[in-house]
Amino acid sequence: MNLSLLVILPLITTLLVLLARGGGQVKAIALTGATLQLLLALFLLYAFGKERSAGDHSAMLFQANYSWFAPLHIYFHTGVDGISVAMILLTAFVVLAGVLVSWDTSFQTKEFFFLLVFLSAGAYGFFISLDLFTLFFFLEVAVIPKFLLIGIWGSGKKEYSAMKLALMLMAGSALVFTGLAGIYFKAGGSAHSFDMMQLAGGLIPVKVQLFFFPFVFIGFGIFTALFPFHTWVPDGHSSAPTAASMFLAGISMKLGGYGCLRVATFLMPDAAQHYAPWIIALSTIAIIYGAFATMMQTDLKYINAYSSVSHCGFVLLGIGMLTRTSVTGAVMQMVSHGLMTALFFAAIGMLYSRTHTRMVAQLGGLLKIMPFISTIFILAGLCSLGLPGLSGFAAEMTVFAGAWQQPSTAYRFATILACASIVVTAVYILRATGQSVLGPVTDSHYEQLPDAKWNEKLAGILLMAGILAIGLAPFWLQQLVSPGAEQIIQQAVKSVTIK
């Protein structure tokens, strides 16, 4: 199948949104577009599986290569492996859910859905890119919509948050850019190239890797809340409108993780080995520190935002551990966290739109009043604390199991600390649920509030379906991701044996 469709479809949707008249039409178009995206993503999964089972074991499938800026060797080179397919699926789920929960948007509807769908185009483009330039392009494309979504439709100190998010992500991009420049000019003599598949074969000299790896890794790390560059996360997530929060935490942060994996680790395996202790140290700090910081939050969105810091730490930990299993786990965690956190934000958004507060202390007893919303809230929480049968468990356990394969005592210690964070997670999740949806009803006004509407229910069910599909049967995801992880790790392992 032609992967560019994944980008073209949302773009056509945005165009139609622009041409639409009235909020109803806009929503209908956005919904149709998002549904088609999901179908397309599912078809991609199917086609990918079919191709693989037909015996095509090449690293990337459905490759297409169009020349873009020929003098600079820039191509629009697309292709997917299992990891990309998983991320694309995640995107499709979150986009559709995001469109659904935003159904009640009445303020500047057209612009809202335009930006929302536009964001998804960026994410798809990022995940299908095999060319560093296009990858970078799509990474940055998302900046404008994110900024505007937060600033226009956000709440709280939205201006500050929007600025902060945009600037910090821009700083991340700047670092990535520097790294890309280094890779381009220093890899393999005069044959300048942006093509990841060409650059991958250990083409980049070790010295160059050692110099540029931190740029690329930290640059992408900022996107995925690498400690101590995570401070945009709490502010950004908490100020964003629901759908944008879902997008930010569910997809946007994953761009970083994917970049750390696909660009930093895949292209610079020696450096990845060399810097692994640093990555592990930082990610362990993020996990534990994020979890403890979450414990002290009183705003539901802050709770989820900080917990995202902690959970994304698992992604980086998995990457830093550099074993096939841990990398597989990292990708699974990305997908799982994406769905879970989107569901969480959706639930929080639904609560907020009714009660007009996100403070844990002001909520209470909502399970009785809004059973559906409270149930998905609790389920998201349970997924977050790693309940078997929901996606978080499978992902985290894969990370742990993979991390444990590293025999070094220090790494083991990091792993144990990471494991310990699941206890802290339980503490803050149960505190949050216990005080907000359980317990006595704190405000008699709440009694009259309605439960979820059809669109909200559909969004919740959709994301739950994703979570359950992974949680109940993680093997398909694992089998999907694992060969890709293998390929990335092979480079790292090979580089060790060469040394």
Partner: protein, 472 residues
Amino acid sequence: MMGTQFFWLAKQELVLALVIFLLLIIKTGSRTYSNTSVLNLVNALLLVNFLAGFIAPADGILFNEMFHTNTLVTIEKNILNLGTLIVSMQGYEWLKTHKHVIEFYVLLLSTLMGMFFMISAGHLLMFYLGLELASIPLAALANFDLAKRQSSEAAFKYIISSAFSSGLLLFGISLLFGTTGSLLFSDLPALLTGGPLQIFALVLLIAGFAFKISAVPFHWWTADVYEGAPVTVSAYLSVVSKGAAVFVFVYFLYLVAKPMAAAWYTILFILGVLTMLIGNLFAVRQQSVKRLLAFSSIAQAGFILVGISGSSQAGSASVVYFILIYVLSNLGAFGVASVVSALSGKESINDYKGFYRTNPFLSWVMAIALFSLAGIPPAAGFFGKFFLLFAGAGKGNYALVIIAALNMVIAFYYYLRLVRAMFFDRADQEPIPSLDLNWYPKIGLGICLVGTLLLGFFGHVYEHIYSISIPF
């Protein structure tokens, strides 16, 4: 032989000259003419002028190598033509009530002609003449808000600074003449030895260019003049005048001063870093939109210097490509500022609060233009800036690239400030009312918007520019 060749090679200048003459005739001939009809006529002529630029581009030299032209030069002139056309359309709202429309255009087009000669110059004398033709009328233009104090101050600052800078430039040229005995571009490379006097001459010449493209520390006039001059003139200064200087600068450095590449690379490095830093740092706390854009255009010059310092074909191609994009994006921003200033008289960032609610189209044009200036995709500025910095990186000076990349972050901040004011904030006082635009500015802004959004996606534009640009 010589006759036909002359017509073909200097056709852009000739068309321009015809336009100027036509305008002068109208001015002297008829006593009563309405502004709008003049504007209609001029805009039509400018369009013709722009389109004529594409007819039969030819390579060749005239006047004993004093004048040269080729496809690259033609394209560069076309870019400037495009910029002028857009400036003219966006200035419609301001000009339609102005008393001296024809004079405005005569002066404006004279400077454009000066720039053409500058670009086509094959000899330093020709270059100097072009330069002055491009500068002196601009000073008069800066004073075109005749009754405004600030306009006069701006014009005065510009003319004195400009005169001083050309004095130094001439001093440099005289030293060059003294040490080499020739001022012909094609002779000079062989005669340059890198002695102290020549280095001094080089510094002086570069300072002259740096003045025109407003690179730090030769940029001081920029912000004051941009603020004081009418917005239309500021737009023209920041885009067309700067663009022309950049074109010549590249030509001069890459072809003429090539033997002294090590020396000028150092200068460009220092100037580039300073320009980006100072430009951005000053822009950060500006309250006036025009001043903000002025410092932004200074910072952009820094990025251009980084690109030029790449010393490669990719470098020169990227510079031309960037200027093309920069013309569109900067004119998008200035264009909005210009119509807002002309119709409501408001020029401060605070005045733009709530702008999106009253003027969504203008807000989007402004926002996309700003994002393009900041280098955020899908705006074309991303591509322009990416290639510029990449060209700079090709030299292996990663410190420069990192500084540039981090400067993009600072720059992003102040562009976002304006976007924030337009989109997020609610107006504390009466917001700018919904502006009713004539279709000229609308088209002008539309061209900027569409160009800014789409230009990056057409790879062969860059490819074409690359194929004809100056190798190093």
